[in-house]
């Protein structure tokens, strides 16, 4: 009971912090550009953490996360822009936006289920190819669908997303995915990553758990898409290209496959870096590829590996740093004595 109470308290404190930042933004203490960047960061945290569930926790390789974001974004945009379509007109304003975001997530989850069921029976590279293809199919479909504006995009959305909304979504995503990983169902997913044959022989229905992880991740990708759409007030097929999937993948790989805190950190850092390097936007893809190659060469498990950043980990690495430093000092002393 005490455990649950402290978990709730923690949750409330974090939300209060988010709300305080939002109030500071409203009061003009944080300039609008930074407010925007911080909101985008929160949305990318949702994208990266959910992709980590597939690629890091479950050990599968998906390259179609942008596709699921697109499904969520367009579904939600259609709902908020057409007051009597899909949802009855009694839902207006922010309530409509929240419901639209949930429905966007559910549609993405459903599509994830349809894509995942056949393709998750495949192993390794095949899944990457199928999801890559899926992402492109979604983009081309949207490109040719006149109802949502085709190539020029779907304009004139109301700006429902503020920092607090995106922050709240990211906290919910992190909490739910972290709780899932700590449960028996999450352990089943991790066992698939560690050794699929052994997992199956230990009584884990591997295909079912791969699909479950895929569907959960697709849901959150869909909600992130909706947030993005109602922040930029428009959706175009061009905002959900293969490059977005690669950006998310880079966040997951940089932070560490299987590390939630790693994904959060990497999402924040890379979003910031993309903004700071806006002048070199043309070279972005070169930078991303270089970064991916460098990580694979020097730190193939990502910055944090499968570990989570915690107080204990910090203390441990500080200790090992100190012993290393002391050993070096001792070596220097003996060297000097000689």
């Amino acid at each position: 009971m005490a455990k649950r109470f402290s978990a709730l308290l923690q949750f409330a404190l974090v939300l209060a912090l988010g709300y305080a930042i939002q109030m500071a933004m409203d009061a003009g203490m944080i300039n609008r550009y930074y407010a925007h960047v911080m909101t985008v960061m929160a949305i990318f945290v949702v994208g990266a953490v959910s992709l980590n569930l597939i690629n890091g926790i479950c050990g599968q390789f998906s390259l179609g996360h942008a596709g699921f974001m697109a499904v969520g974004a367009y579904t939600a945009a259609i709902i908020t822009k057409n007051p009597d379509l899909i949802l009855p007109a009694i839902f207006t304003g922010n309530v409509r936006f929240i419901l639209a975001t949930l429905l966007g997530g559910m549609t993405a989850a459903f599509v994830g289920f349809l894509v995942g069921l056949p393709s998750l029976r495949l192993r390794g590279d095949y899944l990457a190819i199928v999801t890559l293809g899926f992402g492109e199919i979604i983009r081309i479909l949207l490109l040719n669908w006149d109802f949502v504006g085709g190539a020029s995009g779907y304009f004139g959305l109301v700006r429902h997303t503020n920092f607090f909304a995106a922050f709240l979504l990211s906290i919910i995503t992190i909490t739910i995915i972290r709780n899932f990983i700590q449960s028996s169902h999450g352990r089943a997913c991790v066992s698939i990553r560690e050794d699929e044959i052994a997992a199956e022989t230990m009584g884990v229905p591997t295909t079912r758990y791969k699909v479950i992880a895929f569907v959960i991740a697709s849901f959150f990708a869909g909600t992130a898409g909706s947030m993005m759409a109602h922040l930029t007030q428009m959706v175009t097929p061009a905002s959900f290209t293969f490059i977005l999937s690669i950006e998310l993948l880079l966040m997951v790989v940089l932070g560490g496959l299987g590390s939630i805190t790693g994904s959060i950190g990497a999402a924040i850092f890379l979003t910031y870096a993309a903004e700071a390097l806006r002048a070199f936007r043309a070279y972005r893809m070169i930078l991303y590829s270089l970064l991916l190659i460098l990580i694979m060469l020097f730190r193939p498990k990502g910055l944090l590996g499968t570990q989570e950043l915690s107080y204990g980990l910090l203390k441990e690495s500080f200790k090992s740093l100190r012993t290393r430093w002391q050993r070096k000092k001792n070596d220097d002393i003996t060297a000097a004595a000689e």
Partner: protein, 261 residues
């Protein structure tokens, strides 16, 4: 009552018949050995019994219920849930996970809470998780691994990794345990300890055990009956003393005797 009975189990990979007309029958509580030279098809037979491979022909019955026939075949996880557990020749632990988590995963089939309690960490989640943890630690104690429960599986010494694999298999609550070369790479002292452990768990968990092993001292020492497999066929079957004298077995292991020697 036969715990396990296979009839004419055969598997072909392309033109190669890896195991042909494999007929074995295990009575409840027996400890039976399966031996044979390298490449005889012992592990392939295990893979058929656990559903990793689908046999080309033949049937498997477990406690009088079919596991695999011409019309249907169960998935490996379903077979595990029926009560067959196994270990692997080349240890297949969840290397990056803790010793405790390795065992906890094997309790997965008993977990009753759904996804929603998992997302929200409800009271039901906590209650069941505590129960699983207690059971897992109890099991680790039997194997003398409870003091290393937080260690990553890959950091354990070789002999302990083997023990952990047996512990993990037992956590699935099996009736039949298949051990694939449990003593491989162990020194004589460790092998001796392992023999004692196998005898102990067999009584403690009332298991039927089928064992693949190259270590003849171990096989002859603990098994009540032995099947000998060579080139995918069972060439002999009997008690250890019978097997030791069987000319066909000697031939398979040592080669044909020279007539004009």
């Amino acid at each position: 009552m036969a715990v396990l009975e296979t009839i004419n189990l055969t598997i072909r990979f392309g033109g190669l018949t890896a195991v042909s007309k494999f007929n074995i029958s295990l009575e409840e509580g027996e400890l039976v050995g399966l031996i044979g030279p390298n490449g005889a098809g012992k592990t392939t037979a295990f893979n058929m019994l656990t559903g990793v491979y689908q046999p080309s022909e033949g049937t498997i019955a477990f406690c009088d219920a079919p596991l695999c026939s011409a019309t249907k075949a169960l998935q490996p996880y379903q077979i595990t849930r029926r009560g067959i557990a196994r270990t692997f020749q080349n240890i297949r632990l969840f290397k990056e996970l803790s010793v405790l988590d390795n065992v906890k995963i094997a309790y997965h089939q008993n977990v009753k809470y759904g996804l929603l309690p998992a997302f929200l960490h409800t009271g039901r989640y906590h209650a069941e998780e505590v129960e699983i943890e207690e059971k897992a630690i109890e099991l680790l104690k039997i194997f003398g691994l409870d003091t290393k429960k937080s260690e990553r599986a890959k950091n354990l010494p070789y002999g302990e990794q083997r023990r952990l694999e047996v512990a993990r298999a037992l956590a699935t609550n099996p009736k039949l345990l298949l051990l694939d070369e449990p003593a491989a790479g162990m020194n004589p002292q460790e092998t001796q300890q392992l023999m004692e452990l196998i005898n102990f768990i067999r009584k403690q968990f009332s298991l039927t055990i089928l064992l693949i092993e190259h270590d003849m001292a171990l096989v002859m020492g603990v098994c009540e009956r032995i099947y000998v497999l060579d080139y995918g066929k069972i060439i002999a079957h009997g008690t250890p003393t019978e097997i030791r004298r069987n000319p066909k077995v000697i031939e398979a292991y040592l080669g044909e005797e020279l007539v004009h020697a």
